[in-house]
């Protein structure tokens, strides 16, 4: 086994309290590209890391939200007298107590902190109660009386769009249609008539619950200066602070949001969860700190989910197997509030041609309000839904023209410089071809017929492949900007002020790797400050596979600035040293001609405080191609500039008696640019694939008439260690010009192709395609009966 002291890395990173010191025996820097143990691992394995959930400041009180029992209703009256009379109650608050806009959400500000006139989903927050402890809180919440007049409700996008359907947001002239848009190239309608083969499928994709282990939580208080300070589990502290300020009517400079390490998020904490309630409660608790920590049930009821939807996809090719025409129509259910529904739809649409060249295409997308729980961002951001449809139809079409599904994909796969099926010129790194070739040559693929033939009695076997693609960053309009801040401390160590939250993917450890490489310092010479809107610089949200891509680029710049200042200072202090003879070495600046070292702390002490802090801003380059799409399609993120790619291969075995699908083997070849830290790269692929496997097979989040039925982890089946195989992840390295050290974000690509890969294997095994996910045993058994 590798031992700590002979590996490059370190076991911990001192936080500002000086805990969790490194245990490296080596003072050497760890170059980007080689393994570096994550800086956060030490605090996490010892239980010392303090998450938002772990804050219990003195004088703590608790807040809780009384939620709507109706999917759609007018609020006739709220009677808080009973609750106010309960022992230990500190405040009982309604929408009327909010001085600001009482609206959160981005880009649409349509979600009330507390419902003012009506409720739009079962679980919509109506009354906020603050009490001395959790038991008193529970009693007081039970004493709140709200009188509702139930309204007709809509529970699926089709009925929501029907004429005369009840409208959720009356002020919208588009009614329940949140977003619709088109991306087209050539003449798809006509092109289908030129095809030798055409296949079509309609796929229903389920909700997916993020099920991060740390449910939504935070603590907040108003300090002596009137600053609302919040420690909260969030992916977007900077955006939150602005949203909280506007919603609650306080000046933005009076809101401070601190985002410690998150206990998971996956998109589900990209935006407001408990922040509005926490802030409001803190404003009414007489300066005492307030805590909210959702129970698992409340989390399931109130948190956003991956957009459920229907994707209809038609694909045609010529006789020689050249893809010629594509049409895709996706309709997503955004639930009661917009959330990131517009961008999610566009990201899905913008990836509808997958990794392929297609001459003609037409992609229509819609996102629709319903009285269901709100949908939002989830790893993959609309793309897994669309790739699920595309990659299954690709298999169907290959079968129709009698081509091997892998050769068919290879034949149509884009190379650098090609134009994709949606007209995007692949100008940046792209190597799906090698991913596919490696899969083609793998024994699990070449030997698949033999393995399938050896299926035991009452078992069916299948082998599937699928490809995936995912654009990184925010797209061409919304600026993807990161601002890094780095300080040389007077003891000669460095402090990095992280601008992007770390929800578990390790981006803030990557900061140490990057700055260490640029400054030639070992990891134990760094400490990290997690995002804090008062101390760090706004670098936007932890999302879109951009965290290391964007902040890393900014940090390279900031480290470069600081390096120059340090060397300048030495040259200034030692007039006999020539500037070009000075280099940074671990802990010091070296004068190379005589090898003399000047310790960093001596240099630091000689520097002005302002010079010891370097900041730099980096703005992501965007795709400047002018494609004929509506402004909102562009604004919501089409087209991207840099993409990640993947090919997945899986073997499944199906039990004919129970219908259960067992995943026997799973491989993923991925182009995510250059690898910065091999084991952290693998973490993202493995975690993403397994989440995709859950999406494909087990995770069945049920909502009936708008009410969440799946309320706990015994009914919402997450993959356990017994359900999943080891994943073989093989990187196909490219060098992405726009990325720090040539990397591209790897956080999301792993999930994108899992569902269709498994579905293709299953379809091969049972001779019937199950178009509704997840592929539960019941659905498999029904399909087996139909196939028979």
């Amino acid at each position: 086994m590798k031992k700590l002291h002979d590996a490059h890395g370190a076991t911990g990173i001192p936080d500002e309290k000086g805990e969790g010191h490194f245990h490296t025996k080596s003072d050497l820097p760890v170059p980007v590209g080689s393994d570096l143990f994550r800086a956060d691992a030490y605090g996490k394995v010892t239980g010392r890391e303090r998450y938002a959930a772990d804050e219990y400041p003195a004088g703590l009180v608790y807040a809780g939200v009384v939620r709507s029992p109706h999917p759609h209703a007018r609020i006739l009256a709220i009677d808080t007298t009973g609750a106010l009379a309960c022992p230990g109650v500190i405040a009982v608050l309604t929408g009327g107590d909010i001085r600001g806009t009482n609206r959160t959400g981005l880009p649409e500000m349509d979600q009330p902190v507390l419902a003012d006139t009506k409720v739009r989903f079962t679980g919509d927050p109506v009354v906020l109660v603050v009490a001395e402890d959790r038991e008193l809180l529970r009693q007081a919440m039970a004493a709140v009386k709200v009188t509702y007049e139930p309204l007709p409700a809509v529970f699926d996008p089709d009925s929501a769009l029907a004429k005369g359907a009840p409208v959720l947001h009356e002020n919208r002239k588009e009614g329940n249609l949140l977003f619709s848009g088109v991306i087209a190239k050539g003449d798809a309608d006509f092109a289908f008539s030129e095809c030798a083969a055409v296949r079509e499928g309609i796929f229903s994709l389920p909700r997916q619950e993020h099920a991060y282990l740390e449910t939504e939580t935070g603590v907040a208080k108003v300090d002596g200066d009137g600053v609302l300070e919040m420690i909260v589990s969030t992916q977007s502290p900077f955006r939150d602070s602005r949203e909280i300020a506007a919603a609650l009517g306080i000046p933005p400079e009076k809101v401070r949001v601190i985002a410690p390490y998150l206990g998971g998020a996956f998109g589900g904490k990209d935006g407001i969860t408990v922040q509005g309630h926490l802030g409001l409660a803190a404003l009414h608790s007489g300066g005492r700190p307030v805590k909210i920590w959702n129970s698992r049930e409340e989390s399931f009821v109130s948190s956003t989910k991956r957009h459920p939807g229907r994707v209809s996809l038609k694909l045609g090719c010529t006789k020689d197997g050249t893809l010629h025409a594509l049409s895709c129509r996706l309709i997503f259910d955004t639930g009661a509030y917009a959330g990131l529904g517009g961008p999610v739809a566009v990201y899905g649409m913008g990836h509808a041609a997958g990794v392929y060249r297609v001459a003609h295409s037409r992609v229509e997308g819609m996102n629709v309000y319903t009285n269901n729980p709100p949908s939002g961002a989830f790893r993959g951001f609309g793309i897994p839904q669309v790739i699920a449809a595309l990659e299954q139809v690709v298999d169907m079409l290959a079968e129709s023209i009698g081509m091997d599904p892998l050769e068919f994909r290879l034949k149509n796969a884009i190379r650098v410089g090609d134009e994709t099926g949606l007209g995007i010129r692949m100008s940046n790194s792209a190597d799906i071809v090698t991913c596919l070739e490696k899969a083609r040559d793998h024994p699990l693929w070449t030997g698949r017929d033999e393995w399938i033939r050896q299926a035991p009695d009452y078992k069916r076997r299948g082998v599937g492949i699928a490809t995936g693609v995912l654009g990184i960053g925010y797209g061409p309009v919304i600026p993807d900007i990161a601002s890094a801040k780095l300080e040389l401390l007077t003891d000669g160590r460095f402090r990095i002020y992280a601008g992007v939250a770390d929800m578990g993917q390790g981006n803030n450890s990557a900061n140490i790797h990057i700055a260490g490489d640029v400054l030639c310092q070992s990891p134990d010479r760094f400490e990290l400050v997690q995002p804090d809107t008062f101390r760090c610089l706004n670098s936007s949200s932890s999302a879109a596979s951009r965290t290391t891509y964007s902040y890393g680029n900014a940090l390279i710049l900031a480290a470069g600035v600081l390096k120059e200042r340090i060397l300048d200072k030495v040259a200034q202090l030692h007039p006999l040293f020539r500037r070009e003879n000075l280099i940074l070495v671990p802990g010091a600046v070296r004068h190379t001609p005589d090898g003399s070292d000047i310790a960093l702390h001596t240099i630091a002490e000689a520097m002005q405080e302002a010079d010891r802090v370097a900041t730099a801003t980096w703005t992501a380059p965007v795709n400047r191609q002018q494609l004929a799409v509506a402004p909102d399609v562009k604004m919501y993120g089409f087209p991207h500039l840099a993409y990640t790619f993947t090919t997945h291969l899986t073997r499944v075995e199906i039990d004919e008696i129970t219908g259960a699908v067992a995943v026997d083997a799973y491989l993923a070849w991925t182009d995510a640019g250059r690898i910065m830290n091999p084991h952290v790269y693998e973490q993202q692929i493995q975690g993403g694939v397994i989440q995709g496997m859950g999406y494909a097979l087990w995770e069945d989040f049920r909502v009936t008439e708008g009410a969440v039925v799946t309320k706990n982890l015994s009914t919402y089946i997450l993959p356990t260690s017994m359900d999943v195989p080891d994943i073989l992840s093989v990187p196909v390295e490219t060098y992405e010009e726009s990325g720090p050290f040539g990397m591209k974000g790897v956080g999301e690509i792993g999930i994108v192709a899992a569902l269709p890969c498994i579905a293709n294997a299953v379809a091969g095994a049972i001779g019937f395609r199950v178009c509704d996910a997840p592929l539960t045993p019941e659905r498999i058994l029904t399909a087996l009966r139909r196939a028979a």
Binding site: V45, G47, R48, D54, L213, G263, Q691, N712, S714
Partner: protein, 156 residues
């Protein structure tokens, strides 16, 4: 009610309601927040602690059950140096968000005590009550397996 027990090696007298959940007692009264809660109903394993050396779910236990017991939480699991399991979790990249990690580490300790040389399948079975949403389990299994091999070698 008064409860006498040993918490992380220290004789401890607790004054608490007998039906207080152990997870709350640890986190809120004793400040031992390394024990996580992610479901509160025995479904996730995040609240795993060792009671008399065996793994238990602290969200399903009440204070009265601690009388006379020896409790080890993640904070007390390593003394001066990291426990080899913790070290293995770091080295093998078994930690992402880390919210499952304390429970996983203690579940692994329980397994290795019962079965010093488990194979991958036995490891997977032993941690199947501990959910992890980030890692896909593979590196956690790698970490635990690395210790099993060490045991095997030293047996020979």
């Amino acid at each position: 009610m008064k409860i006498r027990c040993i918490v992380n090696g220290k004789q401890t007298d607790l004054e608490t309601a007998p039906d207080r959940r152990v997870v709350d007692l640890l986190r809120e009264d004793l400040g031992l927040c390394g024990t996580k809660e992610a479901c509160g109903s025995g479904e996730c394993g995040a609240c795993t602690i060792l009671v008399d050396g065996e793994s238990r779910l602290s969200c399903l236990m009440i204070a009265a059950q601690l009388e006379g017991k020896e409790i080890v939480t993640i904070e007390g699991f390593s003394k001066e140096h990291l426990h080899p399991i913790q070290e293995a979790f770091i080295v093998h990249g078994a930690v992402q968000c880390g919210f499952c990690t304390p429970g996983m580490v203690l579940a692994a300790a329980d397994l290795l005590k019962r079965n010093p040389a488990p194979d991958r399948h036995e490891i997977r079975r032993a941690i199947s009550g501990n959910l992890c949403r980030c890692t896909g389990y593979q590196k956690i299994v790698d970490a635990i397996e690395s210790l099993a091999r060490v045991e095997e070698e030293s047996d020979e």
